[in-house]
């Protein structure tokens, strides 16, 4: 039996009268890159936030690596990390100070060596002594990604990982994430509006629509079964 990385059971989230996640149930296997897609307001961010314990579900259960997020939250959070272009690091600290700060929060052993290795791999060495606030959006994205890898997460949640990056850097980051996943046998969940990126990186897809699961399954079979040429075509025809 394939072990699940994420197991969601009848999960709902209400904000007042508005139900943004509606009684959804799904499982994601361990090891792999999975995509969560949906239009603005579909519930992607809320779902990600609930997976990280940032938002408390109204009802339902979240199990991550077989542990209940409700009861074993801090144990689970040691093995999770997250990156989003919409969430920043303290601006008045240098990149290195920020990375040291987060490495300590995650209790990373030999963190100087770890930071040195990841920052070399992500080519951000020359940014380490700069103030985070002075970086461009693209540089911030790479630094945020570096932060998200500090604890060698078993589950990595990426919100638009290549937003604000130029084509070559996007390509570099995509390949880096794919290699990271293979090397560490981790589970990566990506939300993105870049359908090409999702098609390139993910094997499995969950599409949310107004808080419901509209589609769940293999990307190739979704495209092949319906005779679409790409994921983009699927989205345009089902808009």
């Amino acid at each position: 039996m394939v072990k699940s990385s994420i197991e969601i059971n009848k999960l709902s989230k209400n904000y007042g009268d508005s139900q943004v996640i509606k009684d959804i149930t799904f499982k994601l296997p361990q090891e792999g890159i999975y995509g969560i897609l949906g239009k603005n307001g579909a519930g992607k961010t809320t779902l990600l936030a609930m997976l990280m314990g940032l938002v408390t579900p109204t009802s339902g259960d979240i199990n991550i690596f077989g542990k209940s997020l409700k009861y074993k939250k801090y144990e689970i959070l040691k093995d999770i990390n997250f990156q989003s272009p919409y969430v920043e690091l303290p601006k008045k600290m240098t990149v290195l100070q920020n990375l040291y700060f987060y490495a300590r929060l995650y209790d990373v052993k030999n963190y100087e060596l770890v930071i040195n290795n990841i920052s070399s791999e992500l080519r951000i060495n020359e940014l380490l002594n700069k103030n985070y606030g002075s970086l461009s959006s693209g540089q911030k994205t790479r630094v945020n990604l570096c932060k998200s890898l500090l604890n060698n997460p078993k589950l990595l949640l990426l919100d638009e990982p290549t937003a604000s990056l130029d084509i070559s850097t996007s390509e570099f980051i995509r390949n880096y994430i794919i290699n990271f996943q293979k090397k560490n046998k981790s589970t990566i969940v990506i939300t993105s509006h870049d359908l090409v990126e999702i098609e390139l990186m993910c094997s499995y897809l969950i599409i949310l629509n107004k808080g419901n699961i509209f589609f769940e399954g293999d990307i190739k079979s979704l495209i092949k079964k319906n005779n679409y040429r790409s994921l983009k075509e699927f989205f345009l025809k089902n808009d």
């Binding site: 961010t45 990280m52 408390t56 040691k78 920043e88 987060y102």
Partner: protein, 263 residues
């Protein structure tokens, strides 16, 4: 031109009247100033024979100690606000950092900021004005700690309100302790206040702290009853404020506010 000026006036009206804390801030400053200086003048008029230097020494001691409270509160709220301003809350709350660890870190940050901030002020007051705060002896440490604890209590309430209701409440960080200033009897004794206000004021630990300070400086005594009252009130208010702050974190998680805070 008129249209453009009118547009700006509407914009300023929206800012001022668009949020309750900002609206309150328009009214409370003049009221607080009048109350404070009114009570202060009453005290001076009724104590004309009290030595000027003794009075100034008491006032200077009160200024320094009041600033301990202010620095304590600002040290806590500003440390927390830094996370809000830098849109860093989601990153922070997805680490294994527990809520009570945030509380302890804020308290320690505030303590060290206050200590660092107050050291030069006390030194200059001693050097230039021959002012001897240390005459308060061991009780100075007691008063210092209790004032900084009042600062933490206020700080946790303000931080909780900002987390829950947003940046409109940030103004409270600067203003809230000036609301309690006239009733805290910092620069004048409790009996300067009208009788009804005296009853209410006694619920504030600051009143007992500054009454004790004056008693120490004038008569070199301190009542154990005051010490106990200060401790009980501080334990009560600080516990309530920390529970309130923790509750606001929980509410923020329920309402998805941790993801949407920022400049």
């Amino acid at each position: 031109m008129i249209n453009r000026i009118f547009a700006l006036l509407i914009r300023y009206q929206n800012i001022a009247f668009g949020s309750f804390p900002r609206l309150i801030s328009i009214f409370y400053w003049p009221t607080v100033q009048i109350l404070f200086w009114g009570f202060f003048t009453n005290f001076f008029m009724s104590n004309e024979n009290f030595g000027v230097w003794s009075t100034l020494n008491i006032i200077l001691s009160a200024v320094v100690l009041w600033d301990v409270l202010f620095r304590g509160q600002l040290g806590l709220t500003m440390s927390f606000f830094e996370e809000l301003w830098s849109r860093n809350l989601p990153n922070l709350f997805i680490t294994p950092l527990k809520d009570f660890e945030i509380v302890l870190s804020l308290i320690l940050a505030s303590f060290f900021r206050t200590l660092i901030g107050m050291t030069p002020a006390v030194f200059f007051a001693n050097y230039f004005f021959n002012f001897h705060l240390f005459e308060l002896g061991i009780y100075l440490i007691f008063l210092f700690f209790n004032l900084i604890i009042v600062g933490w209590a206020v700080g946790f309430i303000v931080s909780g309100l900002v987390l829950r209701y947003g940046h409109a409440f940030e103004e409270l960080a600067w203003a809230i302790i000036f609301i309690i200033l006239p009733f805290s009897c910092v620069y004048y004794p409790l009996d300067t206040l009208p009788e009804t206000l005296q009853v209410l004021a006694q619920m504030l630990p600051t009143v007992h702290i500054f009454e004790s300070m004056r008693l120490l400086l004038i008569e070199n005594i301190i009542h154990s009853k005051d010490v106990i009252t200060i401790l009980i009130l501080n334990i009560f208010y600080t516990s309530i404020s920390i529970l309130f702050f923790l509750k606001m974190i929980k509410v923020a998680r329920n309402r998805g506010l941790l993801f949407n805070q920022g400049e």
